[in-house]
Symmetry: C2
Subunit: 245 residues, 2 copies
């Protein structure tokens, strides 16, 4: 029956041959631990809008995303939310609540169809015991996230809505954009206008107007979720020196 699990259970898979293995936090594990991981891990699929976990849930383990994008959101009591980060293939999420032992402070929601492997607390603990390098990976992730969050604060304070939108577009272009033969770049936005607005800290109406203005100025063309940027350079010039990154 163990055989059945490792070989034919569709929710199981070999981590060592996972497509995200190379970029994930888990590739530092030894042969033996990887086998343990493969055996205990449960892969699941989510549809757009479904939650991997919610703010306030107690932590029961971490997720390693294999496909699709996941939004990390924080809500306030009124139900307003801010989209704090977008996690993708290879990213481990829920590590923070795992490490701190507290309830989740953010909600993780699939932005589109996606799949991820769930690694239960106990297994993470035993893997961490035997693999200090895994702990280092988590720590570096926390440090990077901290840095990103602080940069975010600085941007909120020092940049205009328009500048923040331009910045967001540049970041997304770098992550998911494709270069056309003529050097222009295009992409399919992984986010609704509402989510984009919540990332840059404005209302979706305002976002819509800014997009209209950018389009009018020829800096970008928006059609539904499709974006075409004739010149990344010109777009980047919009925040001339206003960023450290």
């Amino acid at each position: 029956m163990r055989e059945k699990e490792t070989r034919s259970d569709p929710t199981s898979c070999k981590c060592s041959v996972c497509r995200v293995h190379g970029e994930s936090d888990w590739f530092t594990l030894g042969e033996k631990d990887l086998q343990d991981l493969s055996r205990a891990v449960r892969r699941r699929n989510w549809l757009a809008g479904q939650a991997l976990f919610r703010m306030g849930d107690s932590n029961r383990g971490v997720h390693c995303i294999s496909e699709g994008l996941v939004a990390l959101r924080k809500f306030n009591p009124q139900g307003d939310f801010v989209l704090l980060a977008i996690a993708g293939p290879g990213d481990t999420i829920g590590y923070r609540a795992y490490l701190s032992g507290e309830a989740h402070h953010t909600s993780a929601e699939a932005l589109g169809p996606c799949s991820a492997c769930f690694i239960p607390r106990d297994l993470v603990s035993s893997l961490l015991e035997r693999n200090p390098a895994l702990g280092i990976r988590f720590m570096r992730r926390a440090l990077r996230d901290l840095d990103a969050a602080q940069d975010n604060v600085v941007q909120q304070v020092t940049l205009s809505n328009r500048e923040r939108l331009v910045h967001l577009l540049l970041v997304l272009l770098q992550r998911t954009g494709e270069t056309a033969p003529d050097g222009s770049r295009q992409m399919l936005l992984p986010l609704s206008r509402i989510d984009m607005a919540s990332m840059i800290g404005t209302r979706h109406e305002t976002l819509s107007r800014i997009m209209g203005r950018l389009e009018h100025e020829g800096l970008a063309k928006f059609s539904g979720r499709h974006v075409h940027v004739p010149s990344v350079r010109a777009l980047a010039d919009e925040l001339h020196e206003r960023l450290d990154a």
Copy 2:
């Protein structure tokens, strides 16, 4: 000469009897390590405005603050800055650049006369090797800071300037306020208006006006850096349920 250092050098001291020892990250160390620490540590004093380290400096160790307050700031290329956090006695700062191995991403500047002990990289490394608990402390500090930074983003996005000022006042009151016999509270602000404005993400002129309004409404009285709050309850009601904390 070693004796001279440990016994009479005014820059040296015994960590085990340090006034912040109980609340610092270092109290988990064993007897032997504490002695090593006491011997290698160098205490220094700074005046208001002087920097313990600056953004871009390479990391040479960490500081454990023994007295006074230190502002952690982030600058953009124009020289605008945001005050991200205020560290006080017992707090270890510079740990992030130490752990990530990168240059400092923030500047640390004394808000008033203060003193702190400098612990060189190499010593931190050897202490960490022998004391996993110290690493855990650093990690928890990173997780707390991450949480604070994300909450900060949420506040920037969902709260008005006035609400953010009220929140800042409440936090400062809790940290440094004194209760009068009649239940009212007062404190001496550790920050200039400019710094406060940069914390809540607005201009100092606007801050001044909001303060004027709060005073006019009887919620608080400002005189220089002195603040008097007749009813913390009334002040807190200003952000009725708008916060999770």
